[in-house]
Amino acid sequence: MKGSLISLLMVVSLLMAVLLPGCAPSTRVTRIESTTPTDLSGRWNDTDSRLVADEMIRDVLMRPWLKEHVAQTAQKPAVIVGQIRNLSSEHISTETFIKDIERELINSGQVRIVAARDERRGVRDERFEQQHFASEASMKAWAKELGADYMLIGSIKTITDAIEGKQVVYYQTDLELVQIESTEKVWIGSKKIKKVIERDKVRW
């Protein structure tokens, strides 16, 4: 009888442990550095976006097109970041990636960045209103925008190989710098990231 008592107690304890929702841990929040790599699901995240942007911009600024442009025009080139398409199997915020690229380019001090199409629209609205409401001295003139010399375009692609519980995702980011006037491609860069994502089949 003692044996069955212990078994029954074990069953009841197991029942309680698994079925009582009140035993779940409460929410915990910890602040960490925004540069600390955090890989939770294995998907593309802020760390990937930042690393790819850093490396690709370092590469583009080292290439001959920049020196050639400065030599020919005696000015820093004006660059606009165009469409970077998400051709992957994940929902990647290309806006974040574009901002990472723009930040790196501006911070390098070697190029000038032209605002993107949507941003320009907002700025033009503001300038339009200035014509009516701002003082003549402070009002900004039309047709003085900086025209970009180059456009940066690209895509993010993935190749996924998976078996149950294990997945290898290969991300390839391709960027191309195109001279707007001549449509000549002056630089092509590619950055690859390979991730292995494993999931435990069981947990307690």
Binding site: M1, K2, S4, L5, L8, L9, V11, V12, L14, L15, A17, V18, L19, P21, A24, S41, R85, N86, L87, S88, S89, E90, H91, T158, T160, A162, I163, E164, G165, R199, D200, K201, V202, R203, W204
Partner: protein, 477 residues
């Protein structure tokens, strides 16, 4: 104290919501869904969750229901939020809980976390793709199509090995077979993929998706009878209006009671309503005859779909009829048939072991009680003996103990009736050549008597060349 434990266990088991499927809100939800009342249906689900009808272990079902209902309601961003969460949850639930698995071997499958069926995982992405199409975000819709492809490749790898692994288990009590062809390719997903790739200018990818569409139909005759809708690159090379519609509700799960009778070295298992003449015999080495147990299993039951045809009109001009491109109910049935063998096997083993343990406990109780009475009788006076006999306390205690053991065994054997309520029964599709322009589109949903039971209007739909011009509707009556 030990005699009280079965009563305590019975109380825990009877009071524990995790042991049975809470069906209290099902009728109300079905009524709202069938009445095209999406917001009311969303409210029913939200209230049911508040009242604990979607416990944490069933969080995936809640997300699936909310995701689909918001989609039908035209709230595509909301729908995507729920479905994105559903997909992440499904990934998390890939890691199975050992404690729950152990419990399910002792109690029933309701205690397991609802991890979603294979087809449900595919339909999450189908609905998300449709949401993104409706939002005009075709790159994001293509992400979903790629995810469908990855999942379908995984399914093909997964099922070939399953039956081999089970039959190869050391000394299995019961050997079983499973249907040889599985759901591993999805015509609906491939169809959407072909459209999205084509209009994205990726004609090679579109061609591959079209090949996969026909392959899905040819390789799964138990799901698809024939290509309901012809698809080719040349067909897509015209200005088309694409229409999609979902009708009916997916199959319901109902509980079917089974009985187990033990014989010498074998079990006889049969549905309670049909009797022993229809019993299946399973070899069970070492089991004694004379035990009788009961258990419940879920069974899928098709829900009648009132819609038999959907006619498409542009500016009141009849364009044609949609074709049933995928019978989602059939996909659910085929998938369930495969899993049914496992559920059946598990329930028989569990019921038998639990039943025998219960019987042994009752026998032991009876024996211990007899011994205790003898010991007491030695120390009692004749007067006390008479009083004891008169009260019949011993017999009553045995009866209560026995009843408590039976209650634990029976209450804990509940069928797992959980399902995705908002899943439609049939997906219909069609494409219609139209000159470029703006049209008022109308869909007429017809019943078996060719009577219009529902109309859906899409005012001022722009039809442009080389663009995915799509409208979509749902009627889950």
């Amino acid at each position: 104290m030990n005699r009280l434990l079965p009563f305590f266990a019975a109380a825990v088991v009877a009071g524990c919501a995790a042991l049975y499927t809470d069906t209290r809100f099902h009728d109300d939800l079905s009524r709202q869904i069938r009445g095209d009342q999406w917001q009311a249906a969303i409210d029913v689900v939200a209230k049911a969750k508040e009242k604990g009808a979607y416990p944490d272990k069933d969080r995936l079902l809640y997300l699936l229901d909310m995701g689909a209902l918001h989609h039908y309601a035209g709230e595509y961003e909301q729908s995507n939020r729920y479905l994105e969460e559903a997909e992440r949850t499904s990934e998390e639930l890939f890691t199975a809980s050992i404690s729950r698995a152990v419990l399910s071997m002792m109690l029933n499958d309701n205690v397991l976390e609802y991890r979603g069926e294979d087809y449900e995982e595919i339909y999450i992405n189908v609905f998300k793709a449709l949401n993104y199409i409706a939002l005009g975000q075709h790159d994001e819709a293509l992400v979903e199509i790629r995810r469908i492809d990855i999942k379908l490749q995984l399914l093909t790898d997964k099922y070939g090995k399953l039956v081999d692994a089970l039959n190869g288990a050391p000394d299995p009590h019961i050997r079983f077979s499973a249907p040889s062809v599985d759901f591993h390719n999805d015509a609906l997903g491939r169809y959407l993929g072909a459209l999205l790739y084509y209009y994205d200018g990726k004609h090679d990818d579109a061609r591959i998706e079209i090949e996969n569409y026909y392959r899905a139909i040819a390789a799964q005759p138990q799901i698809y009878s024939q290509p309901a809708l012809e698809l080719s690159l040349s067909v897509l090379d015209t200005t088309l209006l694409h229409v999609m519609a979902f009708t009916g509700t997916g199959p319901e799960k109902v509980a079917i009671d089974f009985r187990v009778h033990t014989g010498k070295n074998h079990l006889l298992v049969f549905p309670a309503h049909r009797g022993e003449r229809f019993a299946e015999r399973f070899a069970w080495e070492g089991i004694s005859e004379g035990y009788y147990f009961k258990f419940s299993l879920p069974e899928l039951q098709r829900v009648n779909n009132r819609v038999v045809a959907i006619e498409v009109h542009a500016d009141d001009r009849y364009l044609g009829t949609l074709r049933p491109i995928e019978d989602l109910s059939r996909v659910a049935e085929v998938t369930f048939q495969r899993r049914k063998s496992l559920i059946y096997l598990k329930a028989i083993v569990r019921t038998t072991l639990k039943g025998i343990a219960g019987q042994k406990a009752k026998e032991k109780f009876s024996k211990d009680d007899e011994q205790e009475n003898k010991d007491q009788q030695k120390n009692q006076t004749d007067k006390e003996k008479k009083r004891e006999k008169k009260s019949g306390r011993s017999g009553l205690a045995e009866w209560f103990f026995s009843a408590a053991v039976d209650a634990v065994t029976e209450i804990s054997e509940q069928a797992d009736l959980r399902r995705w309520h908002a899943m439609p029964a049939v997906a219909h599709a069609g494409y219609f050549p139209l000159p470029e322009g703006t049209y008022n589109i109308r869909l007429d949903f017809l019943d078996a008597h060719r009577q219009i039971i529902f109309q859906k209007f899409f005012p001022r739909v722009q039809v442009q060349r080389s663009r995915l011009n799509m409208v979509e509707a749902a009627l889950l009556q």
